[in-house]
């Protein structure tokens, strides 16, 4: 199911049960991942394209998400100018233990750029001192006080999310 929520920067491709029946796509073989497992195993294939290319690909990916072959995907509605990528980014989420199977689907749909990213890596880059958070702060032109507040908020948010290793991971609001 392709979900384009008003006000969201991202377009999501989620199983319809995620919307209607609270299905948690962050699982492996049907077992939801704990925070600890999420940081160890969960990640994504990432690649870029024009908005039009990604819109077309999303339509072709949707049936694989409905069949639960691909857990979920998201992509940029618009290019994020702060990061100077020049294209929209698509992320295809899955557990590393199923990434080869997911890659085969992507390859069959014509995806050529192959880059695997663990979620842990992404999170570290959004923590104070991390490349993404610091680039974002710099390009938004925050005052030193505002920048410090953003860093503190990021640190607190991640600390709170992962304080219990054994709790089921429930996702990040985006």
């Amino acid at each position: 199911m392709i979900i384009n929520r008003p006000g969201s920067h991202f377009i999501f491709i989620l199983h319809s049960d995620c919307v209607n029946r609270n299905y948690n796509y962050i699982n492996y073989n049907g077992k939801e991942l704990t925070n600890k497992e999420y940081l160890k195993h969960w990640g994504k294939w990432v690649f870029t394209g024009s908005k039009e290319e990604l819109n077309e690909l999303a339509k072709r990916l949707d049936p694989y998400v409905e069949k639960k072959i691909i857990p979920a995907a998201k992509y940029d509605q618009e290019i994020i100018p702060e990061f100077n990528i020049g294209e929209c980014v698509m992320c295809i989420f899955c557990d590393v233990r199923q990434r080869d199977e997911v890659w085969e689907v992507l390859e069959s749909l014509g995806v050529k750029d192959k880059a695997w990213v663990y979620e842990k890596e992404t999170m570290e880059r959004w923590l104070p001192g991390g490349h993404l958070l610091e680039t974002w702060i710099k390009n938004r032109g925050f005052s030193p006080e505002e920048a410090e507040r953003v860093r503190e908020d990021a640190k607190e948010k991640f600390k709170k999310m992962f304080e219990d290793d054994e709790a089921i991971f429930r996702g990040i609001d985006q």
Binding site: I85, W103, D113, A115, E121, R125, L132, T135
Partner: protein
């Protein structure tokens, strides 16, 4: 051996907009050698990818067959025939 390099659009200003480069390299070459070889063909690319100490910049991710070389052997990662190298701004991984 034949190596395929795929560059993100943001990096193609160093390669005359060429996104996919097929390269012939001698056996047992590592990523550092590949970057040096690329630099001879596309001047400025090495500086865009690496800092003065010849380490991969924080702002760049390099993948060999889908795996980030930071978790392999960095620039000392040995390349093999048929490998695909993807070079992207690190922000893509966000």
């Amino acid at each position: 051996m034949k190596i395929t390099i795929r560059l993100a659009k943001a990096l193609t200003n160093f390669t005359n907009s060429v996104k996919v480069i097929d390269f012939e390299l001698d056996e047992e070459n590592d990523l550092a050698n590949l970057i040096d070889t690329l630099e001879r063909k596309y001047p400025g690319l090495k500086k865009a990818l690496c800092n003065m100490e010849f380490e991969i910049k924080d702002s760049i991710n390099i993948y060999v067959n889908g795996d980030n070389v930071r978790y392999l052997k960095g620039l000392k990662t040995i390349l093999h025939d048929g490998d695909q190298i993807n070079i992207v701004p690190a922000a893509v991984a966000g």
